[in-house]
Symmetry: C2
Subunit: 436 residues, 2 copies
Amino acid sequence: MIGLDRTHDVDLRSWVPSANGHLDFPIQNLPLGVFAPGGEALRAGVAIGDAILDLPAVLSANLLSGEAAAAVETAAGEKLNSLLALGAGPRRALRARLSELLAEGQPERGRIAPLLHEASACTLHLPAAIGDYTDFYVGIHHAENIGKQFRPDNPLLPNYKHLPIGYHGRASSIRPSGTAVRRPRGQSNAPGTAEPVFGPSRRLDYELELGVWIGPGNALGEPIPVGEAAAHIAGFCLLNDWSARDIQAWEYQPLGPFLAKNFASTISPWIITPEALAPFRSTLPPRPEGDPRPLAYLTDDADQREGAFDIQLDVLLVTPGMREAGLAPHRVSASNSCHMYWTVAQMIAHHTCGGCNLQPGDLLGTGTISGPDLQSCGSLVEATLGGKQPIQLASGEERRFLEDRDEIILQAHALREGFATIGFGECRAVIGEAVA
Amino acid sequence: MIGLDRTHDVDLRSWVPSANGHLDFPIQNLPLGVFAPGGEALRAGVAIGDAILDLPAVLSANLLSGEAAAAVETAAGEKLNSLLALGAGPRRALRARLSELLAEGQPERGRIAPLLHEASACTLHLPAAIGDYTDFYVGIHHAENIGKQFRPDNPLLPNYKHLPIGYHGRASSIRPSGTAVRRPRGQSNAPGTAEPVFGPSRRLDYELELGVWIGPGNALGEPIPVGEAAAHIAGFCLLNDWSARDIQAWEYQPLGPFLAKNFASTISPWIITPEALAPFRSTLPPRPEGDPRPLAYLTDDADQREGAFDIQLDVLLVTPGMREAGLAPHRVSASNSCHMYWTVAQMIAHHTCGGCNLQPGDLLGTGTISGPDLQSCGSLVEATLGGKQPIQLASGEERRFLEDRDEIILQAHALREGFATIGFGECRAVIGEAVA
């Protein structure tokens, strides 16, 4: 494992009391984002426990120097694209300095404390302007589950194990956690129906994904080799790629999903850095017997050693009935990032191998990450076998697809013995009013 | 026909001599763009004959007032997005005033002439920052031709005549006319081959499309009704959606084209306004007997009356051999925009019906517009029946797909008796060095 330093030390504690033992944002995490304290202007911040540290204010207080200061200077506006473009050096320098400033024993604590805001009193925004959004399909159990519903005898298409399947998504409709999602209207043509009909989707679904923020980009025509892909990753988030299955089934041939997925996507607003996740990287598991060896442009020793992640992924559901009865959210899925057949480095190498240019602030989705059984499915269409077998909730209710006022909460936690747990924060949204 | 005024008068002449009888940019056109005179800064301009008028300079010279002045004020930077966002009112006011300023008999001619630049001494740039790029598939002969190659017995899928099929494309790799296109590398798996291989595409193709610039956008969750779609169109361009057919065939199942099309798209840099094209709108032809009636959200009386365009579309090819022999470009296709099964208004209404938000500067492609025979195909894969039957060039050469140093030039001209011809300018690019 490369790049571990004292910022990862499990014994490191913060003078911000809520950070110590925090399930998402201990001092070992330090994710970057854009926030607005109630009614004030948007600005860059870092999450620490239940608080957010105002980064431009830290800079103004002369608490940063060198590369760390330069990093925050580029983040002066309402978007972090320029900071992401700087790459790992300034990002690591900023992390190291923030770790010092927020650690127990920091003598400047009295100057820093006033620059903290209670997170509950702030609004979180998209951390960057997303130029292009690409969604992959690297969750192999998901691909198999979906494939079985369409092609029971041949669930995985012949290309699946040769390249990371991906497609372009809609950037304009990506929203941060907390923004209600309107149920889309659209055309569908249920089996046995003579003519397509137009109306609100009746098979609204979530998709549990990880998002990848691109840092430095590449020039058009100049691919990123798989061995250099890590330098282009600025961080990670949770991504709910909301999907209208009835619209999707009718529209997706021959050019892929369109309106079924472009009405909204929700992301967790904090950028979890590669540095924070360094302790949770792991060796790729061997490919199953008989699987093809990836072509050379998708193979790299370092990626084989460090390309996998061990991140626990959960999907929670709150129905209006549960909300009114004061019941806790029901966990409808527990999955893990290890179920990715391709690594993020392979996704980036493939995306750019023909010359396509990535830009700072582009977002890649992994595709739905399902585990091998019904309790680890990353979408309802999988967990309910296409809506045939409803899931039973602790409240006594059941669901085949999402109903109005249902809320979906995605969570991600990286856990490893001997290290502080790193969380992604929440990616949540309520199904709101249908599109009129 | 609505909205014709004296700016459309065929007898209107300009004091810029090259404008009169110009095949693309007579005074009746007045397309908007972004240009840089040799070595100088980028700025907004309007094409007039063989010249470009510097719009900020016209504003500085106090030659504009009211809405026309406001329009140019918003176009102060290097991109026209804010101007596009203003919509039809300011755009029409600017057109009316520019028509006056450039017309014969204009008393201020002496003050305006110094603000003209020779187009041949300028570089043209993308006119706007393209947020999202969506490509449709509304050329019905193209859909049939491609469908026949994959499904000879069932070329059009069941959804085709019920909705305008579309998918999301890559915005970052769109370049203005004149930028060389690098042949992409990628995976392909030719029929009869045991394993996929990685290398330069051997089936590189062009696609003849129209592009649509979005003006005012819509809020997320608030669809644009088909009857209001026209107000969201800022203008049109030519679009070459370069395609690597070997990469496409292997990768496109199940989520659609990805690397086969994201390595480059080329557009003509001038925004041809709806006002310039107003005389060339026409009643939609009746749907063929037996075709389904579109659902209500795709039907509007005004769109039925004015939704079609009569624009002649040409594809010219120059091979290195022709270039060296000094031969004229060979016309490999003559098509027409009337071969669109869906109107632009229907594309916009469909795109947004589920709530997806469009933004000023978004680009929509129509998809390849082929005519009914081999001489009017909008791509080589159609014209050569999938590479089986090469096209013969006047130079004695033949082509199945594009070879290195071939150049493709797309042209568009709106022609109608009693009106000046409106051209789009060129959309050209040479196939350059392969991606390394």
